[in-house]
């Protein structure tokens, strides 16, 4: 059943999206913009379906890098945030480095990493993704581990609970929603980072290299078909992170985060 409120939620973005595409199409047709300059959405969709198998293949290459980086970055981020919640000064050490790294375009760092590993290796790209994910996860999970209700900690102490028990029964569960918040941010970012990392070199099998080579060849519609694939991949990652969140917190945590938002 499509309830009224559901329609009301879905309608505006739908109307907006469709009218945006129509406007785009109209501008391209109306001003007779040539395909080398700006491709019409209809052409992009046409290319998308025509090249679907290749887009799928390229997406799976970039997607694999994103996924591995996402997992590695999350694991490192979680581990590090445990250390961070234990030793406060670590946070002060890591923050400026994070800011500095954030100011360097990722493909520049990948170029450096490519020299450190091998240009044919996927590792630099995965490292790059993990690095980006790592900081997002670190910041959020560390917050979740430290910002616990003082009542909870006192209560545990009154049970003569050890630090480890407090960590396990209070800090970790408290950090779970924060972890998912981080994942929601990190999931699409990991996809972007993954294919942007292909910009300056390396194996030519992912979305990023397809986009650049098609643009360089004045095949704009094809390039944007890959961009569309990239957007869809990013949205898929995002959707999966949401599904994971609701699956993992079927009980209490989910509603709590919703209330806090």
């Amino acid at each position: 059943m499509w309830s009224l409120s559901r329609i009301r939620r879905i309608l505006p973005p739908l109307v907006f999206g469709v009218s945006f595409l129509l406007l785009w199409e109209g501008v391209v047709k109306g001003f007779d913009l040539k395909p080398y300059f700006l491709a019409a959405p209809s052409k992009i969709f046409e290319q998308f379906f025509k090249n679907f198998a290749r887009i799928w293949e390229a997406s799976s290459v970039s997607g694999t890098n994103a996924l591995i980086g996402l997992i590695a970055g999350t694991v490192f981020g979680v581990v590090m945030s445990f250390a961070l919640s234990r030793y406060r000064f670590l946070g002060e050490l890591v923050t400026p480095l994070a800011i500095a790294l954030n100011a360097i375009p990722s493909f520049v760092l990948v170029a450096v990493l490519n020299n450190m590993y091998s240009i044919t290796s996927e590792i630099p790209r995965r490292i790059m993704v993990s690095l980006v994910v790592y900081f997002i996860v670190l910041v959020n999970v560390a917050k979740g581990l430290t910002q616990v209700q003082s009542t909870h900690v006192e209560l545990m102490k009154s049970y003569a609970a050890s630090d480890f028990a407090i960590l396990r029964k209070v800090r970790v569960p408290n950090a779970v929603p924060y972890l998912f918040t981080a994942l929601k941010i990190a999931a699409p970012v990991s996809v972007i980072t993954s294919f942007v990392s292909e910009y300056f070199g390396g194996s030519q099998n992912g979305l990023g290299s397809r986009i650049t080579s098609n643009i360089a060849n004045s095949k704009n519609a094809a390039a944007w078909a890959y961009v569309l694939g990239a957007c869809l991949l990013g949205l898929t990652f995002y959707a999966v992170s949401i599904v994971l969140e609701s699956a993992a917190s079927r009980g209490g945590a989910a509603s709590k985060t919703n209330n806090n938002k």
Binding site: Q149, S158, Y159, K169, G251, G252, K256
Partner: protein
């Protein structure tokens, strides 16, 4: 043998620094088994500090605290007491039953025994059918009752409560007071209870401990006796109002300079 024995206790925070606070000075207090004692006094007079000292969440600067003739730290390790706070402080990610089981888990009880006890406690607080719900699905008063159930789960002989009903509206509060009295009578638990409300202190207690700030100390001990069978009518009884008036009088002294007392906050640490 007394349930709680506080002897010559002082608590000074940040001793020797410019931020030094004399939270408690030379406090002596004895609580008998089965007794219900309330701590009342203006904000900052050290009620919570005294409760934390008894719970061994803080160490006294001088003096000693014993609970059931053991040192405070030993009785904490033995889980000789249960605790409840103004915020129910339930864990959102645990069901009601699992919340109640928490102290038992930490004591290493096995699963079946824990579940049985949780169900027993839920019956005690009259919420047996809510075991599998999550705390945020309950009203404030119900959450507070779960918190009490949790505090009592290990059957501790002593219950320490820091303004447990402070966040409830007056009607729910009065209902909860009745419930607490009933539960404590059933389990013959000793209670040390911090509150800001004079009627609450009078209604609940055998004795009301009146405290005053700067430095924190006990200024009065007022015995109240509304009888074992308190009910709604008690609140309309003359004894009740007499008790209220007595406590108010005792407090008046602690409150002389209230108008702008403790006024400017945070000035010290700027």
């Amino acid at each position: 043998m007394s349930a709680v024995q506080v002897t010559g206790v002082s608590k000074i925070f940040n001793q020797g620094t410019p931020k030094q606070v004399d939270a408690l000075i030379d406090v002596n207090l004895t609580v008998e088994p089965g007794e219900f004692v309330s701590l009342i006094g203006p904000s900052g007079c050290g009620k919570s500090t005294l409760l934390r000292l008894i719970a061994n969440l803080l160490e006294p600067t001088t003096g000693s605290v014993t609970v059931n003739s053991k040192s405070a730290s030993q009785s904490r390790l033995d889980q000789d007491y249960g605790m409840a706070f103004q915020q129910a402080g339930l864990f959102d990610w645990r069901t009601v039953a699992k919340n109640i089981e928490l102290p038992l888990e930490l004591k290493g009880w096995d699963k079946d025994k824990r579940a049985a006890r949780a169900q027993e406690m839920l019956e005690l607080v009259k919420l047996p059918e809510f075991a599998e719900l999550y705390p945020w699905q309950l009203s404030g008063g119900m959450q507070q009752r779960i918190a009490i159930a949790r505090a009592l789960a290990a059957h501790p002989p002593l219950l320490l409560m820091d303004e447990p009903f402070g966040a409830l509206d007056e009607m729910t509060r009065e209902y909860m007071q009745g419930e607490l009295l009933r539960i404590c009578a059933e389990t013959s638990t000793t209670v040390v209870f911090v509150t800001h409300s004079i009627p609450e202190a009078v209604y609940l207690s055998n004795r009301v401990v009146v405290m005053s700030p700067r430095p924190g100390r006990i200024t009065d001990l007022i015995s109240v006796n509304l009888g074992a069978k308190r009910n709604e009518d008690t609140r309309a009884a003359a004894d009740f109002f007499t008790g209220i008036t007595a406590v108010r009088e005792a407090l008046r002294g602690t409150h002389a300079d209230h108008a702008n007392a403790g006024a400017v906050r945070g000035v010290e640490d700027r």
